[in-house]
Symmetry: C2
Subunit: 109 residues, 2 copies
């Protein structure tokens, strides 16, 4: 029997669209890639790795990524305060897919 989709399977809240929304922000992929390359990283270090991002935007993106379960935020009660971000398992499971997408991009763009 043939595919019965006359409607796009991506209507409603399909997981693909949802995923795209979650990682689709301007800096989110960069943040995830940076954490993946460098491991646990402090706020200002992330900022240094992302050329041109402002505090406003970076903080907002990190907060969303944390809310959506992509990164963890750990606060160390030192003076001055130290905050480190890291990828969650969930993000790590995403990496091979992002790498596949990257490879696709290299060959097709």
């Amino acid at each position: 029997m043939k595919d019965v989709h006359s409607q796009c399977p991506c209507m409603e809240r399909c997981p693909l669209n949802r995923a795209m929304e979650l990682i689709g922000g301007k800096w989110k992929i960069q943040i995830i890639c940076s954490l993946n390359s460098n491991g646990k990283t402090r706020y200002n270090a992330i900022k240094g790795n992302l050329d041109g991002v402002s505090n406003n935007i970076l903080a907002k993106a990190l907060k969303e990524l944390e809310r959506d379960g992509f990164v963890t935020r750990t606060e160390y009660m030192e003076v001055p305060i130290r905050v480190e971000y890291d990828l969650t398992i969930k993000s790590k499971r995403l990496m091979p897919i992002l790498e596949a997408l990257s490879d696709w991009g290299e060959e097709n763009i």
Copy 2:
């Protein structure tokens, strides 16, 4: 030798970010999924499959997808005119990755 990326590998024009830009538009994934499910499809049929899209936006998205090599546009000189869109090989090679991302989304969102 360990990874030397202190800078995020996604700076500059990395293929991953570029890919995300190309397929990141609000309707583009839906369009691609629809064409993948249904094959060669007419303009108005695509519009019917995408709930709530306006002509303006759909035409713009299709034009961009065509420009970026994701879809082909074939005009049949009939009256009234018939136009059909279809996926390119490039898009078809993208599908397994999108499906992987979709699977990831299903398990992780």
